[in-house]
């Protein structure tokens, strides 16, 4: 034994210290999630993926889907090296184009769009996640621009084979334009609006329905979040302010090919109800809707909708998290599921939420 004294000393030091470290890591409890259906049937909805991240020691990411499968991602070195990401890879050709400095990229959750404008040409590429297909086309577009750097172009809406693009000049903020790409043709059309952008205001296009365009304007120098937006409706002949929408302090998103503008909110003092205001561009009327939720809803900021009139939302509840699917047309809760952690770890939060 005496001949191995040094080895033994090192062995004991390692055993005690590393042993204490291993013991310490073993005492860290992970989360133990399970999904319970509260209302409706999971088979009637599209699959979703709710990504949760636990806080504190050994923060871990968990993926929960509609079937109740729970997948845990290891953050260890080897785990990170061989982690599989469920995200769809963009095709190389698309990726290369979209990462160029002169390209403007935008996305609506279902597709990604990339636009580059220079030398009298408009290059358009689109990648759709569900079909994993890429579409590309170059359009003739008269512009004196030599580089695509001074321009911002983002897709406002896609309806059948028409793509609506908001085009901004960085150096001329009042020159906001609305372009239409007809994917079956090769021309770029501009929708001429009846009212120029008000001085020191920025315009944002919201929805296009048949020949009508809805946009907002707000002071361009304001940093405040609560700046009031003014809503306008341009039907090609005249423009009018949409008073019904101006009064509300919520953001609106277009649904059903731009026919409806819907804004969601949680009513004050009530935690088991979600309300939404719906502006119908056909009848020009604003209507109020609501649906009650069996579970208490807290802090909703995870929304997604693949289907035209369905809303997928995820939020915290008193005991964990929930995913709800709301049929906006019939004002009905289609599904609600609750994700609970049997180990009740504190500080877990939603990392991502997407309909697949």
């Amino acid at each position: 034994m005496k001949r191995y004294r040094q080895l033994l000393i090192y062995g004991v030091i390692i055993l005690i210290t590393i042993g204490s470290y291993i013991g310490y890591t073993l005492s860290i409890k992970g989360a133990d999630f399970s999904l319970e259906t509260v209302s409706g049937k999971p088979s009637q909805i599209e699959n979703f993926n709710l990504r949760l991240q636990t806080k504190g020691m050994r923060s871990t990411i968990y993926d929960v889907n509609a079937k109740g499968d729970i997948e845990k991602q290891s953050n260890s070195y080897v785990g990170q090296l061989f982690r599989e990401d469920s995200m769809t890879d963009l095709p190389d050709k698309y990726y290369e184009f979209t990462t160029q400095m002169e390209t403007n990229a935008s996305s609506d959750g279902q597709s990604e769009y990339a636009i580059q404008i220079k030398h009298n040409k408009l290059q358009f590429k689109m990648f759709t996640f569900k079909t994993e297909e890429m579409f590309e086309k170059t359009f003739q577009y008269d512009t004196k621009l030599e580089t695509g750097m001074d321009i911002q172009a983002s897709v406002v809406d896609k309806q059948a084979m028409k793509i609506y693009i908001q085009l901004d000049r960085v150096d001329q903020p009042r020159e906001t334009k609305l372009l239409v790409l007809d994917l079956t043709g090769d021309r770029v059309e501009e929708i001429v609006l009846q009212k120029p952008v008000a001085p020191k205001h920025a315009r944002q296009f919201l929805a296009i329905h048949q020949n009508e365009v809805v946009y907002t304007e707000q002071p361009s120098d304001s940093d405040e979040e609560n700046t009031k937006l003014s809503y306008f409706l341009d039907d090609g002949k005249s423009v009018r302010s949409i008073k019904e929408l101006n009064q509300q302090q919520i953001g609106y998103t277009p649904y059903a090919n731009g026919r409806y503008l819907i804004g969601f909110r949680l009513p004050e003092g009530e935690t088991k109800r979600i309300e939404w205001s719906m502006f119908d561009l056909e009848t020009k009327r604003l209507s109020e809707h609501s649906v009650s939720s069996p579970l208490v809803l807290k802090k909703i900021d995870w929304l997604d909708s693949k289907d035209e009139m369905q809303l997928y939302l995820s939020s915290e509840t008193s005991d964990g998290f929930q995913v709800s699917v709301i049929d906006l047309k019939n004002e009905q809760l289609m599904y609600q599921g609750e994700i609970k952690d049997a180990n009740r770890k504190k500080g877990t939060r939603i990392y991502d939420f997407a309909v697949q």
Partner: protein, 272 residues
């Protein structure tokens, strides 16, 4: 096996003084820095309270909040970087010291009966044991520092956060996945193998040739990274992960080759 264990024991015994010095230096530096940070913070708070005639709460707010554990152990990062540097120097020294001094210890080593592989193995094992025990001791120090921090600072001046809310290097070493220790040891093995190769080439060949060979391995290491990156970018755009997988695989293969080469050098080339 017995020869290897005995030689490892011998290597450790011959390095005891140096290692005790290194480890105690590390401990003293870290604890002293922790005590200084705590003392400095407390005296700043007291001074602010006295001069400006304000409450403790206000003084803490003025100091930018209570002292976090990460702030108190701010200096630990530098100590860890220093320790990593020391390990690399130690990897050189563990060979060169055998040629130095009056006794020429290397004579005795090389003239020992049996395979010379044990000589190489014992030096590598000794280094890995030192690395592991340093990781362990640093963990012990972290627990001790944590308790000192909680004990010395008044409640209002400390932040109740988890222990892994520490610095960059601490997070690298203590990921809370015990298997990662093995990964860190694999990395240490790779680095030490390359250091050993440098020493053994320098001892086996004339200066010019040794320099050239070391340079070639350096180029293989960096060139592999670039070539793999370029080759893979033709296949996929999801580069970072795939690139790291391939590069790690490449490095492991290169290290296997270097280890084989090292053993060959010790067995056939190395002379007194």
């Amino acid at each position: 096996m017995k020869r290897w264990l005995l030689l490892t024991n011998e290597e450790l015994k011959r390095s005891t003084k140096l290692l005790v010095l290194l480890i105690s230096g590390l401990i003293v530096a870290e604890i002293a820095s922790l005590l200084y940070q705590i003392y400095d913070y407390q005296s700043t708070i007291e001074k602010t309270m006295r001069i400006e005639q304000i409450s403790e709460m206000d003084a803490i707010a003025r100091a930018g909040g209570a002292l976090t554990f990460a702030q108190a152990t701010d200096f630990y990062d530098s100590v860890i970087v220093l320790a990593m540097g020391m390990i690399i120097l130690f990897a050189f020294w563990i060979w060169y010291r055998d040629w130095m001094g009056e006794t020429k210890y290397i004579y005795r080593l090389l003239l020992l009966p049996g395979s010379r592989r044990a000589i190489f193995g014992s030096k590598m094992t000794a280094l890995l044991l030192v690395v592991t025990s340093l990781i362990g001791i640093q963990w012990g120090l972290l627990l001790l520092s944590r308790n000192l921090y909680l004990w010395l600072l008044p409640d209002a001046q400390q932040v109740t956060a988890s222990i892994n809310e520490y610095s960059f290097y601490m997070n690298l070493f203590y990921t809370m996945y015990p298997s990662d220790i093995l990964f860190i040891l694999l990395m240490s093995f790779i680095v030490i193998s390359f250091v050993f190769m440098t020493v053994l080439l320098e001892r086996s060949f004339r200066k010019g040739k040794a320099f050239l060979l070391v340079g070639l391995h350096g180029i293989a290491l960096i060139g592999g990274y670039i070539i793999l990156g370029l080759a893979l970018s033709a296949i996929s755009n999801d580069l970072s992960q795939l690139h790291m997988q391939f590069y790690l695989g490449y490095i492991v293969l290169l290290t296997l080759y270097v280890s084989y080469k090292n053993l060959r050098l010790v067995q056939t080339r190395l002379s007194v």
